[in-house]
Every structure is written in structure tokens, then in C-alpha cells.
């Protein structure tokens, strides 16, 4: 951990973010079950390490592009969770004033260029962000999250190629959670590693244990440094697993309970937490406090969201154009 240049405060913050993500997702599901959520949601429980590990390797002014399963990315980027929860509940105080919902949370000012509802669509946009950084000679990078499903869209191939020929400062982070809705990667890819596709675009392809937040951090850090040097993009594949269904309608008939349980044993949060305790960075009580505080943050966000006003239809047609 020390060799990664991560100080105690940063490590604790990473643990806090992971707990916040887990708590946010569990609360989101609970609110849904209680009938308080209008739309759908895509939960990232089990994938906290890829979100936090990757974003922790960025500077505050770097950009990210997120996905439909994007709550974790948003929290990792340091979003105000109250505004996220308000958006999730469709309130005027939400990040997108209740116009976007779970699938489109963005915090443009903070460099979170938003979550997209169409699988793969963020990847071509990240090329433009990288190009913009390059043309404006900024000291920035853009990190583009997408899933295994997106790696089979045409967008992926076009965009990785274009980013590479122009040596753009883009980090492509593929969160391989083993399923594109119900389709397992084994059925959708004739290769073992999605990262192997990087070779076709002349960029490094790195496979990491996506449930090891420090491994994700290390791989991303290297990719960020490479991008900042002007050496171009990297494709990182985080092998991970989503514990919950694809969305609220998922009966999960495509996988076994045993498989889910086996992955739960690789829980990224407890792995990181016990490592921090073992290495004396945090005490058991300190870790419990972080978890408790994360839950309180979420509860406070729920109270804020529930007490927030509904948006008004008035003037909605005037919002479409700048």
C-alpha cells in the first residue's frame, strides 16, 4: 500500500467511499421495495472496488464518464450524496432536477460528465473529451467506465481505435461483471480477457482483480501517468461481479445461487477493510465507525430527498435548448 503512495487519510477515504456506495445501493433497493421509487435502477453492489480504485487514481479536475450502473462512479468522484438521492427520487433538488433519474446522474462541474442509459455510448464521447483536453493543452485525463456488454458494441471498437491513433489521454475501464443482463461473457466473447482486445488498437491491455481496490488503483494510476505523458490510452479490465440482478425486473434465472455466494466471499469491502486493519492503518472500531458514518450519510440523504420539492412542469419546454 505504501509503495502505491497512498497515505492513511486517502486509504480511509477509499474505504469510506466503498461503504457509502454499498449503503447507497442497499438503501436504493429498500426504497424500491417500499414502493418509493418511480423508475428503474441498476445496482453496483459487489463492484465497489472498481469504482473507487479507478477514480482514486484521478485528480479532482479529471473527468469521468459513467454508465447505467453508475451510482458508485458518482460517489467515488465525490458527489454530494444528498443531491444524488434527491435525483434518484426525482426531486427538484437532485443533480438533474429530477429530469434524469438514476440512469443519468451527472455532476458536470465536478468532472462527472454523466451516466448514459445506452450501453457503450459513453465510449465515443470520451474520445471527444480526450481530444478537447489535448486541443486545449490541459493537464487532465478522462476515465471512461463501461461494462463487458459495451465491449461488444461498435462504439467500443471505433472509439478505442480513434483514441489510440490520436494518443488521447483516455483511460478505458471495463467493469467486467460477468453478465450483460442475462448473457454471460463466456457466450458473448470468444476470448478469455476483454483486455486482450487492446492489442488490436495498439494500446496496453491490463487485466486486474476488480474486487481488489488496490490492484484497480495501481493499474489505473499507471494508465493515468501514461495518459498524462502523452503516450495515449489504456484499456483496463476489472474482473468483478454484480451481486444484485441487472435491474429491478431481473429474476436471475441465468445464474445459480452458488455462483453468487462464491463471489460474495470475494467481497471487495471486507477484503480491503481487513487488509487495512491487518496493516495497522485502521482499527476494528475505526472501520466500524466509517461504516456507521457512511450509513448515516445515506440516511441523511434520504431525509433530504424526501423533504425536497417535486419539480414543476412549468417552463419545461424552455429547458430543451440553451
Amino acid at each position: 500500500m505504501r509503495d502505491l503512495g497512498l497515505g492513511e487519510e486517502k486509504l480511509k477515504l477509499m474505504l469510506r467511499r466503498m461503504h457509502e456506495i454499498r449503503s447507497f445501493e442497499e438503501k436504493a433497493e429498500e426504497l424500491y421495495i417500499r414502493g418509493m421509487v418511480h423508475g428503474t435502477m441498476h445496482l453496483s453492489v459487489g463492484q465497489e472496488a472498481s469504482a473507487v480504485g479507478a477514480v482514486s487514481a484521478l485528480e479532482p479536475n479529471d473527468y469521468i464518464l459513467s454508465t447505467h450502473r453508475g451510482h458508485g462512479h458518482c460517489i467515488a468522484k465525490g458527489a454530494d450524496i444528498k443531491l444524488m438521492m434527491a435525483e434518484f427520487l426525482g426531486k427538484e433538488t437532485g443533480y438533474c432536477r429530477g429530469r434524469g433519474g438514476s440512469m443519468h446522474i451527472a455532476d458536470v462541474e465536478a468532472g462527472n460528465l454523466g451516466a448514459t442509459g445506452v450501453v457503450g455510448d459513453g465510449i465515443p464521447i470520451s474520445v471527444g473529451v480526450g481530444l478537447s483536453i489535448k486541443l486545449q493543452r490541459q493537464d487532465r485525463v478522462v476515465l471512461c467506465f463501461f461494462g463487458d456488454g459495451a465491449a461488444n458494441t461498435g462504439s467500443f471498437h471505433e472509439a478505442l481505435n480513434m483514441a489510440s491513433i490520436w494518443k488521447l489521454p483516455v483511460i478505458f475501464v471495463c467493469e467486467n461483471n460477468q453478465y450483460a443482463m442475462s448473457t454471460p461473457v463466456k457466450k458473448a466473447f470468444p476470448i478469455e480477457n476483454i483486455a486482450d482486445r487492446a492489442a488490436a488498437y495498439g494500446m496496453p491491455g491490463v487485466v486486474v482483480d476488480g474486487n481488489d481496490v488496490l490492484a484497480v488503483y495501481r493499474a489505473t494510476k499507471e494508465a493515468v501517468e501514461r495518459a498524462r505523458r502523452g503516450d495515449g490510452p489504456t484499456l483496463i479490465e476489472c474482473k468483478t461481479y454484480r451481486w444484485k440482478g441487472h435491474s429491478k425486473s431481473d429474476q436471475q434465472r441465468y445464474r445459480t445461487r452458488e455462483e453468487v455466494e462464491a463471489w460474495k466471499k470475494k467481497d471487495p469491502i471486507s477484503r480491503f477493510r481487513s487488509r487495512l486493519i491487518k496493516e495497522g492503518i485502521i482499527t476494528e472500531e475505526g472501520a466500524e465507525r466509517i461504516e456507521r458514518e457512511a450509513k448515516e450519510t445515506i440516511e441523511e440523504a434520504v431525509r433530504f430527498a424526501q423533504n425536497s420539492p417535486e419539480p414543476s412542469l412549468e417552463g419545461i419546454e424552455e429547458e430543451v435548448y440553451a
Partner: protein, 329 residues
Amino acid sequence: MREITYAEAIREALRQEMRRDERVFLIGEDIGIYGGAFGVTYGLLEEFGEERVRDTPISEQTIAGAAIGAALTGMRPVAEIMFMDFVALAMEQLVNQAAKLRFMFGGKAKVPMVLRTPAGSGTGAAAQHSQSLEAWFVHVPGLKVVMPSTPYDAKGLLISAIRDDNPVIFVEHKLLYKTKGPVPEEEYTIPLGVADVKRGGSDVTIVATSIMVRRALAAAEKLAQEGIEAEVIDPRTLKPLDTETIISSVMKTGRALIVHEAPKTCGFGAEVSACITEGEAFFYLEAPVKRLAGMDVPIPYNPKLERGVVPQEEDIIRAVRELVGGKGG
């Protein structure tokens, strides 16, 4: 005033905007040394270099996506799609991203980009290189659609489109590229959403777009010899649409002919027709509104067929005679 071609007017707008604002850059296929399939960007590479006149691989979806990403983060890209037919490949990014990001993010983002593309038949390029697909875009909230018919309009509208903070689809016509007209050398803007009365008249209103404006004007000259004075209106921007100019003209003439090249069914003309008939102008009509549009067929290759499936000058003359004849006078 000096006269230059429609293509030169577009190039001049690009050049002047690129000189004025370093955030403006071009991205597309073969727009650099080749100058674009129709030579519109010819010579810009020499002045602005490969950074700002950016040739891409054949990747339409990522051309559009890259323009969006750059626009979101402070640039003002002008993308070129080589033929309007190929916008189908870029549609996902334009419709689901460019058009929606601002609204979807609660007004906290903007996408100031232009997508230029040549449309239209008449070049013998057949079904996949000749379409006029502007109506697709007019239907999507969040996009603006511009369709100039003269060199003067092309320059002023393109400058406005580049300076606009929204995604603008800028539809050029291949057969207009070589047409000439007076164009001021200095920069000027024509506001989006303002129609132009290209010819005054009292007997019939012709609302025409793109190349059909030229054909309508030529038809109007011949009709004048028969004593029929046609008013020719060019909306210039299809979205936002200047309905006031159209409606007040129809209230004056009592007759409306709408002409476009795209297929008739669900074409832009249907929208114009509805604008006329659903309001006060309806009560001023002395004949039913008439639409003259492309046939509902793919553009065929054979020159006689190609010409025959889209409105020509003689078709406009005939349609106006029918409209005016319906008056009994």
C-alpha cells in the same frame, strides 16, 4: 457585391470562425488534404493544420460522439458526415446523446456542436448517397436543423450555427455547391429561426426548402408571365421554424404550396401544412394546402428516373396552376 459559390461561402464561414475562435475545429472523413468529398473544406488544412482539421477513420458514430464530448468540455466542433445517408450510422449519438444531454442533466450541460452534411439527389449516386433526411432530426427535441438555399444564407447561418450553444444539424445540398450568389466578405450572422421571403407575391405562397427554393423561384418567374404572382418563402431553419412568416403570407395569398425533395409521407411539408391549417390561416384558405414532395421511393440511378422522383421546376409550375385554377380565376 462579389459573388462566390455556396461551397465557397461555407468554407469562408468555417475559415472566419476558426480564425476568430480557437475552440472551433473540424472533424470528419477525408476533410483534410482531400478537402471533403465535395471539396468544401479544401485548403483549410494548410491554414489550420491537422490538429484543427482532423481526418478520422470511417467511424461515423465516433465522429459524432467525439464532437459531443469535445463540445461538452469547452470546444466548438464542426463535424462533417460525408453523405447525409451516413447519418444513420451516427444517429445514436445525435439522438440519444447530443439532443438530450442538456435536458437530461437538468440544464447543467451544453453541447455546442454543428454537424454538416450534404443531402439530396441529382448526382447519379443512387439510393444510398442521395437522401434528404432532415425530417428525422426535426422530430427530435434538442436538435436544431438548418437547410440553406443560397451562398449568402449558407455563410450567415453556418456562423450562427457554430456560435449557437446547441447541437445543430446543417444540411447542405450537393447540387447547390457550385451555385453562385452575392456574399459579403466580412463575417455576418443570420439568426436561426427566421424565414426569408425570397420573392414577394400576392396570389400563392410557396414554402420551399434547400434546392427547391431555386426551383420555386425559377417557376415563379415563369408564372409571373402568366399573371400569377407567387410569394416564395424559404424557412432556412426547419427547427426552430418561423411559422409567423409562413402563416402571415398564407393569410395574404390564401393559397399554399409546400415543396421539398424528401419523400412526402411524414416529410417536413406535413408539419408546415399542419401549422397553416390548425390555426387562423385556415379561414383564409381559398384552396386546400398542397404538398409537392419526393415520391415515396428510394432515389433511383437512371437519370430520367432520378429526376422524375423529385419535384422539378415544371412540377412546381403545374402545381401552382392547379392551386390558382381551383380559384376559378
